[in-house]
């Protein structure tokens, strides 16, 4: 065994090293010319700090291609003026960023600006080390900016009537469809609002069984994911937690997602699985489901609007004739809400000197100017957080090239903002998601017989943690 594995691993090492040595650089992009460019995969070095400028530390959690766009954006800010210099530091992921914030609370080793995902809102407020963005808007007489923010986005980062952080990158959940398969099955690919019943019927029509009785195309891809489940509550204008999703003056003290809306959604997905018109991918199956969608093995797939470009590019590359479209999250006929906002926002801390805090504030204000937001949105898969960005040429071009974005924007504008159709805030947001995912998997795999029981379990677990968290904060 040792000999074999040594030989094999040695061979592997040799192959890799040779490959490294001989391959021309250009091979990377030449092979597969694609009309849908992903953000460029090039080095984005930070620009040097001008002498005498005040340094602002900025932590962010977006890696990969999107991380490059973050550095590019920061570079543009640094080149736009010479008073301040933003040093962008990548902290591995959203989760690790907030963990590092927690570790730094005791010693005060905190950044001046930090990008935090929407699930971290309550925890950031509870640190007591942040400056609410709204207080600075008030000070500078800039409250008008609040009205320029996309209403859904503004609501997402507003708690108790105060906007705490500056929205930065915002997405929402969509149901991706293979338009070609829809046309083939006689379905209308331009219809954007679908009920559960209609999706179940579409899944039946989209499922293709070959001569051997093997399913060659499934209607729907299903994998357990809490974010979509949270979205469904907003779509049906139903509180996810009480009181008021934690958006009011008092803290949220109980999860309430085991009601009719949650049960119906679970049963909807489960019917498709048991009918054999949906393929179940299991926990963590999102990437596999996306892959099968791009290759045409499934015709409908839940994902974030921010995945649009990758899915289009991957579908083109796979060459299976998948035409990527999006529709809104499926719903019941009486649904009166809208989808909610995912992504992250920028928080300001109070640890820096007054000049440093001024610099951090200057960067935050700059980050939501229409020009910056338009370029940012056009280069990522996020939509702009300020409505004024839609007038910008960069954004208009992006909308022409990717009309699918309009469906996402319509989806978050479907209904006036309410507490019920804004995401909830709680200190145990992240662990609650694990409970929801477990509940889904338990139900879809038959370990727990009913949706109601699975959801009751999840609510009980989440509430226990919530109570514990709430008892540790004033």
């Amino acid at each position: 065994m040792k000999k074999v594995s040594v030989l094999l691993s040695f061979a592997l090492v040799c192959v890799l090293l040779t490959a490294l040595a001989i391959v021309p650089t250009t091979a990377f992009t030449q092979d597969n010319p694609t009309p849908t460019p992903l953000p460029t995969l090039t080095l984005v070095p930070p620009v040097p700090q001008p002498e005498g400028s005040i340094k602002i530390t900025f932590w962010y959690g977006l890696g990969g291609l999107l991380g490059n766009v973050v550095q590019e954006t920061v570079n543009q800010y640094n080149l736009s003026q010479t008073t301040y210099y933003v040093e962008a530091i990548f902290q591995s992921s959203y989760d690790d960023t907030i963990n590092k914030i927690n570790a730094g609370l005791a010693s005060g080793d905190l950044p001046d600006v930090v990008q935090i995902f929407e699930a971290g809102t309550q925890r950031m407020i509870d640190t007591g080390r942040i400056v609410p963005v709204q207080s600075l808007l008030e000070r500078d007489g800039m409250l008008g900016l609040l009205d320029e923010l996309e209403p859904a986005v503004r609501a997402n980062y507003t708690v108790g009537g105060t906007l705490y952080s500056m929205p930065f990158n915002s997405s929402t959940a969509m149901l991706y469809i293979n338009r070609a398969a829809f046309v083939e099955a006689g379905l209308d690919p331009d219809k954007t609002i679908w009920t559960y019943e209609e999706i179940l019927e579409a899944a039946r029509q989209l499922t293709v069984t070959d001569a051997n009785g093997e399913v060659s195309r499934y209607g729907l891809a299903v994998y357990p994911e809490s974010w979509f489940f949270e979205q469904i509550h907003a779509v049906h204008d139903q509180l996810f937690g009480t009181p008021a999703n934690g958006r009011g003056d008092t803290r949220m003290d109980a999860y309430a997602f085991n009601g009719e809306v949650g049960v119906n959604y679970f049963n909807f997905l489960n019917s498709a699985i048991t009918e054999g018109t949906a393929l179940y991918y299991g926990t963590g199956g999102g990437a596999a489901a996306g892959s099968d969608f791009a290759t045409g093995r499934v015709a409908m797939h839940f994902s974030s609007i921010a995945s649009l470009r990758t899915l289009i590019a991957s579908a083109e590359r796979a060459g299976a004739g998948v035409d990527v479209g999006v529709v809104m999250m499926p719903r019941q006929p009486d649904a009166a809400g809208r989808t909610i906002v995912g992504g992250a926002s920028l928080w300001m801390t109070n640890v820096g000197s007054p000049e440093v805090q001024e610099g951090a504030w200057d960067f935050l204000k700059w980050s939501v100017t229409p020009e910056v937001q338009a370029v940012w949105a056009a280069n990522t898969g996020y939509y702009p957080v300020v409505t004024t960005a839609y007038d910008q040429p960069a954004m208009q071009e992006a909308l022409v090239q990717f009309p699918q974005f309009q469906v996402a924007i319509d989806s978050i504008r479907m209904a006036p903002v309410s507490d019920a159709n804004s995401a909830h805030v709680s200190g145990v947001f992240v662990s609650m998601r694990t409970d929801v995912i477990t509940a889904m998997d338990d139900f879809f795999t038959g370990r727990v017989p009913t949706a109601q029981e699975a959801l009751d379990n999840a609510v009980a677990l989440a509430n226990e943690k919530l109570e514990e968290y709430n008892s540790t904060v004033p």
Binding site: M1, K2, V4, S5, V6, L8, S9, L12, V13, L16, L17, A19, L20, V23, P24, T25, T26, A27, F28, D31, N32, L38, L41, T42, L43, G61, L62, G63, G64, L65, L66, G67, I89, F90, Q91, S92, S93, D96, K100, A103, A106, S107, D109, S171, G286, A287, G290, S291, D292, A294, S304, A306, S307, T310, L311, A313, S314, R317, A318, G381
Partner: protein, 279 residues
Amino acid sequence: MTTAPAYSKISYRTVMYVLLVLMSIILLFPLFFALSLALQGDTAAPTLIPRDLNNLDWGVFRAVFEQRPEVSRWILNSFVVATSVTVGVLVTSSLMAFALAYLEFPGKAVLLFVALGTLMVPFEATLIPNYLFISSLQWKDTYQGLIVPFLASAFGVFLLRQYFMTLPKDLYEAALVDGCTKLRYLWSILVPLSRPALATLAVYTFLGTWNQFYWPLLITNSTEWRTTQVGITVFRNFEYAVFNTQMAATIIVMLPTLILLVLGQRQLVSGLTSGALKG
């Protein structure tokens, strides 16, 4: 009568080799899968075996270095840190294990139990105090900040003490009678005899340190002070399930340890067997 044992010997060998090959396939599968994903370009729909074997994207490894030239610095950092910690742990563990195994002094039993007791305290519980201490020393973004907290290991002390105890006490007494000092005995007799235990501890410590994530993330901020495991997270895409550069980077940072293992295999194996014979 004579053919039967030969036959069973051959079939035994065959079964053995089939099993070993199967095991190797299982062990190497993650590597193969990583390589396969790396070579398929920036697609969200990769396959287990690349669709088009003539059109593999070997340039992805080059792209990793182009996109993040710091990768080589991260590997260097991890190497310096893992090697220093390994050497440090070997030195401190063998010294303390020697004291615990051979010397008589008051409070010896208590000391052993206190050392073992630290094994029960999870790393997460000491994280914040450690972090405060190291950052108050201004050791963020330095090698000492990455190395010093891990220079002593209760596990190493325990492992070596147990091993030292198995060696005949007569050897120690004979050496002392011949005028050997205690340190000399440790260095010239105990350490060579304990190669298997030391090798085990060294490999365990090196890999453990190489794979550290949370501590290096906390204690470093600037790109050039990151270690490999923290550094390569920059290749993980967010909102894009595209794995090629991430996998290529993973393979690249794995290579040094793999090469070390391939080169050190003979040494490690001979160390283990020679120890077994002498012990």
